[in-house]
Amino acid sequence: MSKKPSNKIKISFKEALGLILPYVKDRFLEQVKSVWLVISYLVLFQVLVLGIPIVDASIIAAGIVLVITGLTFFMEGLLVGLMPLGEVVGIKLPQKSTLPVILLFSLVLGFLATLAEPAIQVLQTAGSAVKPWEAPLLYLLLTKNAGILVYSVGAGVGIAVMFGMLRFLYQWSLKPFIYVLVGILSCLTVYAYFDGNLLNLTGLAWDCGAVTTGPVTVPLVLALGMGISRMAGSADSGASGFGVVTLASLFPILAVLSLGLLFSSSVPNVMSQDDFFKDKNRAQVEQLFEDKNALTRYVLTNAGLEAQRTYFGSSEAMIDEVKKISSDNSKKESIFGTDPDAITKWALQSPSKKVKKAFFKDNQSLQAAIDKFSGKSEPIKPIELIARNMQLAVQAILLLSIPMMLVLFLILREKLPKADEVLLGLFFAIIGMGIFSIGIELGLDKLGSQVGSKIPVAFKSLEMEDSKKIIKNFDKSVVQKSINEDGETEEFFLLKENKKVKQVPYNEKKYNQDTRQYTYIPVIGPLFGSEGGFGGALVVLLFAFILGYGATLAEPALNALGLTVEEITVGTFKKSLLMQTVALGVAVGIAVGVAKIMWDIPLAYLLIPPYMLLMIITKISTEEFVNIAWDSAGVTTGPITVPLVLALGLGLGGQVGVVEGFGILSMASVCPILAVSLVGLNVTRRRRKALAEEVDDNTEAAKVAGAES
């Protein structure tokens, strides 16, 4: 070549489009492939099996499109930006810095990861139904001491990443870590089983382990590990780069359980709601709340009427107190918040007639308030929604990538290879994560909670609040009576709806004489078997199973893990095999977790046996598969699975009345480990067999040779 080739090729707009369009299309379709199963399943299940129309269908549809778009950007951002960044830092770190620096960096990174991807909101949602008298310790850690909980989980993840890096540098096996940590955790869980307060905490602790490792942390830590172990150590050690996620799942459990032990002496014991609000327990109870106002707020908004009476002395005293609050602006704000209508809303929701009378002059003003505040869902505020989610996305990605870049530039004094690509990737990741969270909030969350709250109709009858109707000018003369074999009479009326006439049981309480309106709430279920029967429960378990399977396939962190595993094993462990195995594991785990909630099985019974079994399997498995299997556990519970599963757990928990909805996520972690380990054992067995076969062939060949001579 005589002329020096120019460094850049000029590409016309049309050519660029020709490159970009198929690129976008491929990636978009890939995400469609990963989420279509879970979405169409949810929709079809609600519409066809439960026979309930979907509320807000258009918003949900838009949300789903956003989820797919967001995932497309986010996955590309991971592959182009975050993971290469992690790998570069990983390769250069052991070469150019000292051990203390590496360890400090790991500690900080782990801690930041927890702050960047705040799992605490997820856990608070899961614990939103927790009553302070039923589980005081749990309540304390989720509300007043939530900050301490987050920091200790962060410290747990930090220590985990540190040990993970030490492992890579010195080629330690993951197995002893598993034996020791799981051993300690099992002992603690058994110990907690005999302490009312700690027992309720175990679910939170094990779930913490599952949710700490999010879609940004996992790929970054995997890439970092891959880089470090390529650089450090002697020969190739099988599954180099894995294992940090495992440790980052186990250490936080330990952190939360330890935190529980620390606080368990200072909280009141589990007691009845009535006792809880009695004066003699007041001092201890106040420890659970930030101040007196917080306790008052809790009593007013969350406690039952009986408890309110116990707390204030009588209904009248309570009304006086509330009126006092409403006149004192600063107090009002600290108890009821900034919403000017908060007190009216509160009075409206109170079951006490006295309260209603005290706050509404007459029935008309009551009715006006009902019309104003009830039945309407909060309107979506698009700007607030976008701003909030984008801010979280920026926070999650920058909090992790900026320290990495700082280490690269300032400590390692290296430049970033393909900096433009990495920056574009980070930008994609932020955009993607933002869009995707908005989509989840609008689409998946809504869809999940609709199905989740209705799924109990499979085994029990349920009022459909969503499809509440108000019949105007209700004429009481249409009400008729029926009689059954035992001679009991029941009132009902005929309702014409969509050209069909159906019977509706009449309930005197739902008729408002003044407005002549009858509030009709359709009742559905049990759809399968008898009330509370086994058939319906089986349907719920099956539902949970398929939901778990579909949701897991869509998880971005699992995708990233699958790619990394395929890359490191040079294709001998295919991404699809890993994903299918993990998804099946999660499916089983979620079904078991749902069973835990439906029949209130103590978590220790469900967690300890599989973990014991896993210890044995770990002992006989190869290092490669131990690493991959245990790491899969950490990636199963991500942004897609968690909201769907929580909605399901809470919906069920609310219907069957359990203390807390924790535990499903931890089941969804242990089962995939089992599944992947078993596949690993099978593959190892096949490989050994293949080698053994060759030796057999040889002895046969030797025989032939012997016969010839």
């Binding site: 433009d420 490191i568 001998t572």
Partner: protein, 368 residues
């Protein structure tokens, strides 16, 4: 050109590789280049699957490939030695081959090792063999690798790499073109090479744009793993063993020669007289050095991650290395070396090593 040396490459099941590495280091070989790959095998479908899928399934085994340079005098001895240490005469355990390459320039630590090889029981080594290397998009490797298995010639070696080329001259738009590649290598008898080469072009549709690149390179001697299918044979000796025995009786593999050349193939014009110019250097600097090479005449590179294993405790050469293979014409070779030298490719930052081998025949889509 100077410094003609022998490069020995061992492809061996991962669970057996450590033993081979240890014995090679024990002999006094200073540096080994190690890479991870996989070797597929055919497994016949059983039960329900057999009804729906007549084609045998591929089962992958993880393998490692180890290569090192030795002086020509000990070529046969070292091959015999490796074969005996790895028990490669047993089908299915691995492959060992030697090739004549030019060590054009290298960091001072990366020369050949002067060693003496202990005598071992002699096994028959094939001569007249060639290597075929095919570079395709990630995911297409099985299609190409299968050819070796289906024809019963050899168990292929597949490994991952990524490519640079036109892609890197496109600015940020480059992310729209996947860089991930899969490399398939097959070691076959000279007489089978033609037919296999053309089958690979046909199966991989390499005559279409953007599908891949294929080239042939000469080998000297070797023992090739021919256990292409899993499962115990129903006969006293497997077909692979019979073939190997006949090879031994006849002295070479000429007798295996079958009719070659298809109509389509005869019309093909191959690229001839090219060279495979491979730069092996530290992973941290490889991207920069490839850039230098591309500014000085190389059209593109295929980069695979490899590890360096040094004898002794002192680790002067880092473990994480990359092997960057560039197909070039003879005139570019010296220019490339000069440019790379200027970029300090052979200093302590890069620990570079350049190995040149002939690629007498190559093929890819060329725009007319």
């Amino acid at each position: 050109m100077q410094d003609s040396v022998i490069r020995v490459t061992v492809v061996i099941n991962k669970s057996l590789s450590q033993k081979v590495i240890d014995s090679l280091l024990g002999l006094g070989i200073q540096n080994l280049t190690l890479g991870s790959g996989r070797s597929p095998m055919l497994q016949e479908n059983k039960g329900l699957l057999a009804i729906f899928k007549s084609e045998a399934t591929l089962v992958d085994d993880p393998v490692e490939y180890i290569s090192f340079l030795v002086e020509p005098e000990i070529e046969t001895e070292i091959l015999q030695y490796v074969s005996s240490v790895g028990k490669l005469s047993i089908p299915g355990r691995g492959t060992v081959i030697s090739e004549q390459v030019q060590l054009l320039k290298a960091h001072e630590l990366l020369g050949t090792s002067k060693i003496s090889v202990p005598r071992v029981e002699e096994t028959h080594l094939l001569e007249d063999i060639v290597g075929i290397c095919c570079i395709v998009q990630r995911g297409q490797g099985d299609v190409i690798g299968r050819i070796g298995l289906d024809t019963g010639t050899c168990v292929p070696l597949l490994n991952y790499g990524y490519g640079t080329g036109v892609r890197d001259k496109m600015g940020l738009l480059r992310i729209t073109i996947p860089a991930e590649k899969e490399l398939v290598q097959i070691f076959v008898s000279k007489f089978d090479a033609d037919i296999i080469f053309n089958m690979m072009i046909n199966y991989g549709k390499l005559d279409q744009p953007g599908k891949g690149f294929i080239y042939e390179y000469p080998l000297r001697k070797g023992q090739v793993n021919m256990k292409v299918a899993m499962g115990t044979s129903q006969h006293a000796a497997s077909i692979e063993q019979i073939v190997a025995a006949l090879d031994q009786i006849k002295g070479d593999a000429t007798w295996r020669r079958s009719d070659t050349g298809t109509d389509k193939a005869s019309k093909r014009t191959y690229l001839e007289g090219l060279f495979d110019f491979t730069l092996i250097c530290n992973e941290t600097v490889s991207a920069d050095l490839v850039k230098v090479a591309m500014a000085n005449g190389a059209a593109g590179a295929t980069i695979s991650k490899v590890s360096n294993i040094s004898a002794g405790e002192e680790k002067t050469i880092p473990k994480a290395r990359e092997s960057c293979s560039m197909i070039v014409g003879e005139p570019q070779v010296n220019q490339l070396i000069e440019a790379l030298d200027k970029a300090e490719a052979f200093g302590d930052k890069a620990h570079g090593q350049i190995i040149l081998r002939e690629a007498p025949r190559a093929f890819t889509y060329i725009k007319k």
